[in-house]
Symmetry: C2
Subunit: 155 residues, 2 copies
DNA sequence: ATCGTCGTTTAGAAGATTCTGAACGAACTG
DNA sequence: CAGTTCGTTCAGAATCTTCTAAACGACGAT
């Protein structure tokens, strides 16, 4: 890994950290984005990133579940991974999905709040609607809008 | 605070935690959503939530900066706070703003990556575009779409 | 002026997260 | 079969975050 690649890897690590993921996940992802060849075994990743195999092993699982990377079918014993193209959209999707919890909390609030507290009820209803809006409206619509945007910005 | 209100407060605390904020911020926000009267002094908040004044003092600052709550002008020495209506949209706005860092990291990657690595360049460009899309397109558009959605769901 | 009350700041405790090395079982190699 | 290499798991270390109590300065009341 060149020093420039190392800097990229760390930058993506920091980025992932700001959106709530462990830094190592970002570093793995960053490296898989630029490495050559694009598929890497778990041991190779550990060596390249100077991180223990244990960390890679633990971190790569949520990455698979989140569909950021995929494991390649392989006859050998090694586990080879590569980025799934466009998988970074999951970063947002996951965040938006979490808004459901907000909607549920607000809904609960409405169910236990006295009828006469109209001002408070209005605020809770507003919060609930927004969380639903974020989780469903934006979420469902996201991929389509992204595809459009992407098509328009293609050169 | 009734037990039901306490549960709501804790639920919103958990929700906030899932979106990356300290739990106490969520609990403060939850309480300010339903309390009566809707404006509360820092000391009152500490008492109601059974949290030290120090915590409230530390946590309420980022809440003000994030425009979740506002401090009321007041002649007295107490600092009175209340929720700013619709301020929860900031929860998403902040998240989306953070995507800028991803765009910058990808841009950096493109600037240091060899020209012949077309596959990698494509992936980075894609990541950059998506981060920009999330930060600007969605971000700018969010309020308008929310206003529409809100208007349509008003009864 | 003294006292009580306000919010802030700071130092340290408590707790959660993240990382590593070592031990392990499974699978291939000679 | 013994030896090597693979990924996983577990216990503990290191680190970061979050919380509190205590000390503090500012302000107002008596």
């Amino acid at each position: 890994m060149t020093p420039e690649e190392a800097e990229l890897v760390d930058r993506i690590g920091l980025f992932m950290e700001t959106v709530g993921a462990p830094r190592t996940i970002g570093r793995i992802y960053g490296w898989l984005m630029v490495c050559d060849p694009p598929e890497q075994s778990l041991t190779e990743l550990a060596t390249a990133l100077r991180v223990s195999k244990a960390s890679i092993s633990t971190m790569i699982r949520p990455m698979q579940e989140g569909e950021l990377v995929e494991r390649l079918p392989s006859a050998s014993r090694e586990h080879y991974y590569r980025v799934v193209p466009g998988g970074f959209t999951q970063l947002l999707q996951v965040q938006l999905t979490r808004m459901h919890a907000g909607a549920e909390a607000a809904e609960f609030g409405l169910s236990v709040l006295g009828e006469q507290r109209t001002q408070q009820r209005e605020r809770l209803a507003d919060l609930r609607d927004f969380c639903r809006f974020a989780a469903t409206e934006i979420g469902d619509d996201l991929m389509r809008r992204w595809a459009d945007y992407r098509a328009n910005n293609k050169e």
